[in-house]
Symmetry: none
Subunit: 191 residues, 4 copies
DNA sequence: AATGAATGAGGATTCATTCAT
DNA sequence: GATGAATGAATCCTCATTCAT
């Protein structure tokens, strides 16, 4: 049964299974056994490749963030103007993939973990630094106080996400996108 | 050991202990035993009064929300103008009590729980409905689109809270308050 | 609330509640609390009057046996002949009251308890001695080996009871009565 | 510690330990931990293989019934005549193995469990159906009412077993065997 | 590489029992 | 007499983790 070159396949399967399992449960109260079963491997293998439960979840969160990063990069690539870049960043933040229940569950539990896990905190820091950098880059030509505006936009994005994510039967993305962009326009106009 | 009239005392002690314990741990991975010990009672008593671990946490969160509710009410009572009411709501949302580590831990875990626990979701819904109602009331005379503005302000509040709560060595409150009110002013001005 | 002369009432209520509770559960895995609640008293009172859970069950079993004893006595009182006395004993053993689910549950658990509880064993011994005595008295004029016949009849009664008691959707009583009396007649005839 | 091919060994050890533990206690009030310790394994393994306490007891009872089944089959194999088959069935029912305290404890608790556990009830049904079938087969040539006679013999067997099992310092087997066969002869003779 | 048998600590929960009132 | 608050031991079960194969 052991095959060569299976490692990347196994790792990917376990990461996907972890995300799915946390999504199904809503919390980190999932067992390594259930994750392994979903991935079609033994529980021992999960430890073999990831070391432990926390590492598994961190890898899963890193995977989600990497996916998000890719989406942002693609969106920015197609943006022509400064304003278009801001649009792209907001739209990517509220992409359908971000509102999948399993992604929501991952994010919320990620926030919990970030309080105490330095590694989770680090991941979160990277996500925020990237977003801030992207926002700053696009905002600088448009406003005299890009720092404050970037922080405000970041808060709007996180806040709308949190609200839509936990809104029963929410439309989610479109509403959040519209409100954020409207607020952005208002704030730019007021300068 | 049994004494009459102790019920409110025990309940309060258990609720406080639950908040403290969750704050110390950062997550809901706390034992009823440790909560009970902190409250100075037996683990059995926690079940006697609250039924189970979830009920205990829900009671703790309800306690936090009630405290917040009181703070908002007091702040509003002292507000003179419409604009002053908005100020009060924002300031109350970023009051020092909200940024105590144990309050932060409670909120973050509350969000996680709200995904799957109808009772937690209900509690969250009440908090949001109250905030929205308060914001709408103050915004209506100041803007032509109070609904959207209330939602945006709510998102700003939640977003800034989330960001400051998980910001290493953050000042928290003052920064969040200032940014939120500045954004509010910009948006009102742009109307 | 304390009233004088309530003791017999409370005791009776607790005994009845114990029988009902064991009947509902099928086993001795019932709580003193649930028994007390059913009896409309506090759990403390159950201990006050009976001392403990086992004592409560023993009292309940004694109550059942006493009721059975009364039924037997009444039945014998109306019996005219020797053969009629045997009939009466068999019929009383299979009376509807004996096949109430709660009575069945009590008996089966009583057997379990009799293995290790001297007091339960003693109660069982009394029941058997009485039955044996009654059977012997009625059988002596009818057979040359009354001892063996009494033992056989006793076994038939216990065996049929056990079988009907645990027979899904059993008629219970009539079948057991008929078979026992038929066997008795056959055996007497063969002498 | 993990070894391959140990499953049957572990299962057997756990089943034996369950029977022994219940026998020592007299009731089902035994802990999975004590059973596991007696079997020389961890408590977790008991759950791993059997799922839970009830399943463990059911497996133990099934084991006892299987052993009895084997004894009956062997006994029947050596029986030459119809009457000999009846003898064999009765003797097997009162074999020394049936009167071991642990077997008695298992049977009595099995009866209790059969009231509420469909699986226990099913097991009991199978035991009875087999006995009935065996008795009918042997009785048909000897009597005009084999059904009734089988039921009566079954009751005699169960009844004598119950009586001897709970008879202080009983001889058990021989007495029960003799009385049952005597009654059988009487009944056959009376035809 | 991969398995899954095996461990054993840990925790929620239940409950008989006690005792202050 | 009567209550029920309070205890805390007891137990089932879960699960991360290890490791022989």
């Amino acid at each position: 049964m052991p095959k060569v070159g299976m490692e990347p396949v196994r790792r990917a399967a376990l990461v996907e299974a972890t995300i799915a399992e946390i999504g199904a449960e809503g919390s980190l109260d999932v067992t390594v056994g259930s994750i392994a079963k979903r991935a079609g491997v033994s529980s021992g293998l999960a430890h073999h490749y990831f070391g432990g439960k926390d590492d598994l979840f961190l890898a899963a969160m890193a995977h989600i963030l990497a996916g998000f990063h890719d989406e942002v990069r693609d969106a920015l690539r197609n943006a022509e103007t400064r304003r278009g870049r801001l649009d792209a960043l907001v739209r990517a933040s509220f992409a359908p993939s971000c509102f999948k229940p399993q992604t929501i569950a991952a994010w919320l539990n990620f926030y919990v973990m970030a309080q105490t896990s330095p590694r989770a905190e680090h991941l979160l820091h990277i996500y925020r630094a990237r977003l801030r950098s992207n926002l700053l880059h696009a905002l600088r030509p448009l406003t005299g106080k890009p720092e404050a505006m970037a922080e405000t936009l970041g808060a709007l994005i996180d806040g709308h996400y949190l609200r839509q994510a936990l809104r029963a039967g929410a439309m989610g993305a479109p509403e959040a996108t519209r409100l954020t962009l409207d607020a952005l326009d208002d704030m730019l106009e007021a300068q």
